[in-house]
């Protein structure tokens, strides 16, 4: 990482041990680390000196992680990763709906966190608008011609299936909640119809995954939503 501008990561957590552990782990890998222990501080620091990424604990005293997320997303475009205790699925969903990109449950492995951070960093670098063709794992998705190819062979998708795939691909690497996906493809009135969503995603998987039993493209985040594997664009 020498010679390159170091990425600044803002870590927000009220627990001092986690802050210390993350600072130690991240700076050892060449990141510049800024720490905040409250939501108010986090927003201030981010506004004063926008970081490349924010790692945000959901359960903060005072201004909640949720509120921080919402506040940041009014102007902050870089990735926001949520940390949370396992049981609080509803909070995770709310944070993702409010604009967070990913989540990790405590206790987490630093290795996992670093991998996600790298993935989102790559995604940010590849985020030009107006891209028509996405490619990954032998799957090619052409958004303008509405064609999909798996290992060179065309795959026939229904209109709904394509709409699903499109949204997932355009948000590749991010966790997309059931609610957001349903609202985008079917409409806000259907935001709670997870059943329908699951049926269609199942059908989609059967068509675009090489091994539907071991999905590598569309992974389920149990109770929260789906994530499409990172893609490269052409």
């Amino acid at each position: 990482m020498t010679g390159e501008k170091r990425e600044r990561i803002l870590v927000v957590d009220d627990d001092i041990q986690i802050r210390r552990a993350l600072r130690s782990a991240l700076s050892a890998r060449g990141y510049e680390v800024e720490l905040a222990s409250t939501g108010e501080d986090a927003v201030e620091l981010a506004a004063a000196n926008p970081p490349a990424m924010v790692i945000l604990d959901l359960s903060l005293p005072g201004m909640s992680g949720m509120d921080v997320c919402r506040e940041l997303r009014r102007w902050f475009k870089a990735p926001v990763l949520i940390l949370s205790v396992n049981d609080r699925e509803a909070d995770i969903i709310d944070a993702l709906d409010a604009g967070a990109d990913d989540y990790l449950t405590k206790p987490f492995k630093t290795g996992e966190l670093l991998a996600r951070m790298r993935a989102h960093s790559r995604r940010m670098q590849q985020l030009p608008t107006g891209v028509a063709v996405y490619e990954t794992e032998g799957l090619q998705v052409n958004l303008s011609s509405h064609q999909v190819f798996l290992d060179g062979e065309e795959v026939k998708l229904t209109k709904t299936e394509f709409a699903l795939l499109q949204y997932l691909v355009q948000n590749a690497g991010r966790v997309v909640t059931y609610g957001i996906l349903l609202s985008h493809v079917w409409g806000p009135e259907y935001a709670h119809d997870t059943q329908t969503l699951r049926v269609h995603v199942g059908n989609l998987r059967r068509k675009v995954e090489r091994d539907p039993n071991r999905p590598r493209l569309i992974s389920t985040e149990p109770g929260v939503g789906y994530r499409f594997a990172a893609v490269s664009t052409m």
Binding site: N86, T158, Y190, Q195, T196, R198, V199, G202, R214
Partner: protein, 554 residues
């Protein structure tokens, strides 16, 4: 309170009417019987006359004695006495000279008449008493039969309320009571509402009645029951002390109902209430019957209370046992990995050794494993606590089994994948479950199979549609589970025989959690032993609404 023309309140007016009716009834019937007896004497006289028998005075006297005896047999003492006096007069009038007068000339005739009268009275009395005794014996037999039926019933059931209701009905039919009710409770906490009632017990709702109920129970004295002295042959049944309604209320009362506290072991356990038929009162025989019922029911109520207490004690003991098991398990399971982590960590931090990278790596890897074990234990305990306290109610939806299995696989180590084979048909119906919870079950079952079968041996997960659900079967080539352990392995904290052998660090909670989850989701988990290896079977429910719920985007 409204008053009628007499200026009396309706309640008291009603009481007065009832009283006069009763006394009228008391007079009317014997009057009729007496008249009939007198008539019988005259008829017999006419008969003798018509047949031209002309008996002498002694023979006539004997004929009249027959009539007296018959009157006693048919009607009791009173008609017999009437018959005796009537025939005394008639005998005097028509048989003893001078006839057709009431005067007697011969002093021997006076003697005759006197003896006749005495014999008549004696016969009347004797036969009347016999008749009365016979009636009493019959009544007693009826009482005994009713009581016996009640005793049999009471000893067969432990459901207090329904048994008391049936007994109340029995009392109604055996004693002719108008209404009957049972109260349970103690002198300090007398029940306000009857536990069981039969017939007309509307008058129990008045404040006066409630006061009587409370008073009877508090003082353990009956109210309105016959006094002991007037009841004959009652030595067998313990006779309660009793007071009158007036004394209990401190005011005149026209009541005739009975409030009978029920005792057992020297304590009052309830109260038996009985209301006599309209306008009547309970006679000594009925009082005796009520007392017998009260004593028997008192014992019954006490018995059900003791049985309930014993059961409660049993469940408390079981809860205590589980609690202490839980605590000792938590203590052991959490402290063990912590201990080894502490050991490794403190050893690493000691300055006395320069660690080689390989050795360092090994130590750190050990610590990581310990940490994972600890995390898993805590998650299991939390999960179980959630399930038991009902805060993790399943949120069911239609799921593809494949999705659920995928979620489960994600939480298994990558290297285990090569041992797993999945056989999930395309056309499997969707299951109606909480997907996250069931994926945890699948994970537990797969982990079990991986842990307790020889390394490298294959594990098969197969699914098929069955009647009313989807059956998922996980087969491994391990030792399986013996018949005797088949149910035990699902108990909390139970570590099977296989576990102790491998020294595996399980909590014994995994399968218990699986069972709870499946129960809450409407499914089932069982273990079998096919020809070789072990097999876990999970049954998941389906719903018709899961078929073809397709909505196309506009």
């Amino acid at each position: 309170m409204k008053r009628d023309e007499r200026g009396e309140a309706p309640a008291t007016a009603m009481n007065r009417r009832a009283k006069s009716e009763r006394s009228a009834g008391a007079i009317r019937r014997p009057l009729v019987e007496g008249l009939l007896a007198a008539l019988a004497v005259l008829l017999v006289t006419a008969l003798v006359w018509a047949v031209n028998l002309h008996p002498d005075k002694a023979s006539l006297g004997l004929i009249y004695l027959l009539v007296v005896a018959l009157s006693a047999a048919l009607g009791g003492t009173r008609p017999a006495l009437v018959a005796a006096f009537t025939s005394f007069l008639v005998l005097n009038y028509i048989s003893l000279p001078p006839i057709y007068t009431f005067i007697i000339h011969d002093p021997r005739d006076v003697l005759l008449l006197a003896v006749f009268l005495i014999i008549g009275i004696l016969v009347g009395q004797l036969m009347g008493r016999m008749r009365r005794r016979e009636e009493e014996a019959l009544a007693r037999e009826r009482d005994m039969a009713a009581l016996y039926r009640a005793v049999v019933l009471v000893n067969e059931t432990t459901d207090l309320k329904s048994a008391l209701a049936t007994i109340a009905d029995q009392i109604l039919s055996a004693s002719g009571a108008q209404g009957c009710a049972f109260f349970t409770g103690s002198p300090d906490t007398p029940a306000l509402e009857p536990a069981a009632a039969a017939g007309d017990t509307a008058c129990l709702e008045s404040p006066e009645s409630r006061r009587l109920v409370q008073r009877a129970m508090k003082e353990a004295r009956a109210i309105g029951l016959c006094a002991h002295a007037s009841v004959s042959g009652s030595g067998v049944v313990p006779w309660p002390a009793t007071v009158s309604h007036e004394e209990a209320l401190g005011a005149p009362s026209g009541r005739s109902d009975v409030f009978l506290p029920m005792q057992s072991g020297g304590r009052t356990v309830g109260l038996l209430y009985a209301a006599p038929p309209e306008g009547g009162a309970f006679g000594p025989a009925m009082c005796r019957l009520l007392a017998a019922f009260a004593s028997n029911c008192g014992a019954f109520i006490e018995r059900t209370r003791l049985v309930a207490e014993a059961a409660h004690g049993e469940s408390l003991r079981e809860t205590e046992r589980l609690k202490s098991l839980l605590l000792s398990s938590i203590s052991h399971n959490l402290k063990t990995p912590l201990a080894s982590m502490a050991a490794t960590l403190s050893s690493l931090r000691h300055d006395d050794v320069q660690w080689e990278p390989a050795a360092l790596e090994e130590q750190l890897s050990l610590m990581e494993e310990d940490m994972e074990t600890l995390t898993e234990h805590i998650e299991n305990l939390l999960h179980l606590a959630h399930l038991e306290s009902g805060t993790r109610k399943p949120r069911q939806e239609c799921f593809e089994l494949r999705d659920i299995v995928t979620m489960a696989l994600r939480r298994l180590p990558q290297k285990s994948y090569e041992r797993l084979t999945l056989d999930i048909p395309e056309e499997l119906p969707l299951v109606w479950v909480d997907g996250v919870q069931i994926s945890q079950v699948v994970r537990h079952v797969l982990e079990n199979a991986l842990e307790y079968s020889p390394p490298g041996t294959p594990i098969l997960l197969a699914a098929e549609a069955v009647d009313g659900g989807v059956r998922v079967v996980v087969d491994d080539e391990g030792p399986g589970v013996s018949d005797e352990e088949r149910e035990k392995i699902f108990q909390k904290f139970y570590r099977g025989k296989a576990a102790s052998g491998t020294g595996a660090r399980g909590t014994g909670l995994g399968l218990a959690i699986c069972r709870e989850i499946l129960q809450a989701n409407g499914g089932r988990i069982t273990v079998e032993q096919p020809s070789r290896g072990g097999r876990f079977t999970v049954l998941l429910p389906v719903r018709p609404l899961c078929d073809a719920a397709e909505v196309e985007a506009p």
